[in-house]
């Protein structure tokens, strides 16, 4: 029996998570509506798994990093309404064990929760982009061509093409145009979540 702490500021979302998790055998031991409350409850309840809403009013990178530092043994699955490659990568680097989209089907969400509770990682493929791949993706979003990107990064066009092929595969994009569209849609390199840069 794995114990879970749900951290989300929407009572309705908490009720949904509680119900879904309960159905597959998790024991929901606590619910918090803020990062501050989550810390208090985690200290008291020592849950096996924490489901953490990325959009908490007092949340964000600092709050999550603080939480992870305070509870190193606790496994954390982040839930986010907006899940672009930058956020997925940033969360993985912060040290959480998984992230799942708020719009995911219940089955997908529960598979992620079970994997993280078992000690595995649960990230989309997009969380495994290298820093170079992210740079290339950002330039694609700005409309740059392969030669321009190669010159800017001081690498060969062939290498840029290699990065683009890997990006297509990791992000399930059939074409470079689809990658460009994704980069624009997700604001990659534009002060996206966790990049710490301003736009």
């Amino acid at each position: 029996m794995k114990t879970v702490l749900i951290v989300d500021d929407h009572p309705l979302v908490r009720a949904g998570l509680r119900e879904l998790l309960r159905e597959v055998g998790f024991v929901v031991v606590g619910e918090a509506s803020s990062a501050g409350e989550a810390e208090r409850l985690a200290r008291e309840l020592r849950p096996d798994l924490v489901i953490w809403d990325w959009a908490l009013p007092d949340g964000g990178r600092e709050a999550l990093v603080r939480f992870l530092g305070a509870f190193p043994g606790t496994r954390v699955l982040v839930v986010s309404a907006f899940l672009g490659p930058e956020l997925a990568c940033a969360l993985r680097e912060m040290g959480v064990q998984g992230v799942v989209s708020k719009t995911a089907a219940p089955g997908e969400l529960l598979r992620a929760a079970e994997a993280v509770a078992r000690g595995e990682e649960a990230f989309p493929e997009a969380a495994y982009l290298s820093p170079r791949e992210r740079e290339v993706l950002a330039f694609l979003g700005k409309g740059w061509g392969n030669a321009e990107i190669a010159e800017k990064l001081g690498i060969s066009v062939k290498t840029v093409e290699g990065h683009i092929e890997r990006l297509k595969r990791k992000l399930s994009c059939p074409s470079t145009a689809a990658l460009r569209a994704l980069a624009i849609r997700e604001g990659v390199g534009d002060g996206g979540a966790g990049s710490g840069r301003d736009s």
């Binding site: 949904g16 990325w54 959009a55 949340g59 089907a105 969400l109 534009d190 301003d198």
Partner: protein, 203 residues
């Protein structure tokens, strides 16, 4: 004891949909249909003829507002729900003929009470929100913050926005940060999307 209230619910977030069902079920309301898109919601309501439809504002295919407009013609009252507690949205909801507007931040018992009242024929939203209602739900962004968000949505950079608005980049950055904090978002794309959903500017 009267007959149990029958509701159709619609939300594109499966977790929120599950939560809504659970809250209503515990409140003694029967959820007879669940939809993930606006079209599905419309179809289910036409087919099942519930006492009330509980519809998320931000539905794909057919927006919650459009669904509400059509359901009003069918004579099924609608409770619009939203992730955001915003005066602008409440006014929109009233304009399309929703019987009530409730935030997902509301407590479960509050949601149940609103749905029950609406199923019983009450209209909780007036065309113009009363001053007290507005005062209780102040708009989160200042006009200056809105300007910054709007320009960000147009693809402008901080430096350009600073020039357009005759402010320093530091001020613009601070206003952007403040808007992000208020809307509970952590990136520029999220800020823009959420501001759009709030109706701060047209999509």
């Amino acid at each position: 004891m009267g007959e149990q209230v029958r509701a159709v619910i619609a939300d594109d977030h499966p977790v929120a949909l599950a939560g809504l069902e659970e809250i209503l079920r515990r409140g003694g309301i029967a959820v007879v249909g669940r939809a993930c898109t606006g079209r599905e919601a419309l179809r289910l309501v036409q087919e099942l003829r519930p006492d009330v439809a509980v519809v998320d504002v931000a539905l794909p295919e057919l927006s919650g507002l459009e669904v509400t407009r059509r359901l009003r013609e069918l004579g099924v009252p609608v409770v619009l729900i939203s992730m955001y507690d915003e005066e602008v949205l409440m006014r929109e909801a009233a304009a399309v003929g929703a019987a009530a507007f409730v935030s997902k931040m509301a407590l479960p018992q509050e949601i149940v009470e609103v749905v029950r009242s609406v199923a019983e024929g009450q209209i909780l939203l007036k065309e113009e929100p009363s001053p007290s209602r507005v005062a209780r739900h102040p708009s989160p962004l200042t006009p200056r913050e809105r300007e910054v968000v709007k320009l960000l949505a147009e693809g402008k950079k901080i430096g350009e926005i600073a020039e357009i608005l005759c402010r320093s980049p530091a001020t613009v950055r601070a206003q952007k940060a403040s808007a992000m904090r208020k809307l509970g978002v952590h990136s520029t794309p999220e800020l823009i999307r959420r501001a759009r959903e709030l109706g701060i500017f047209p999509p």
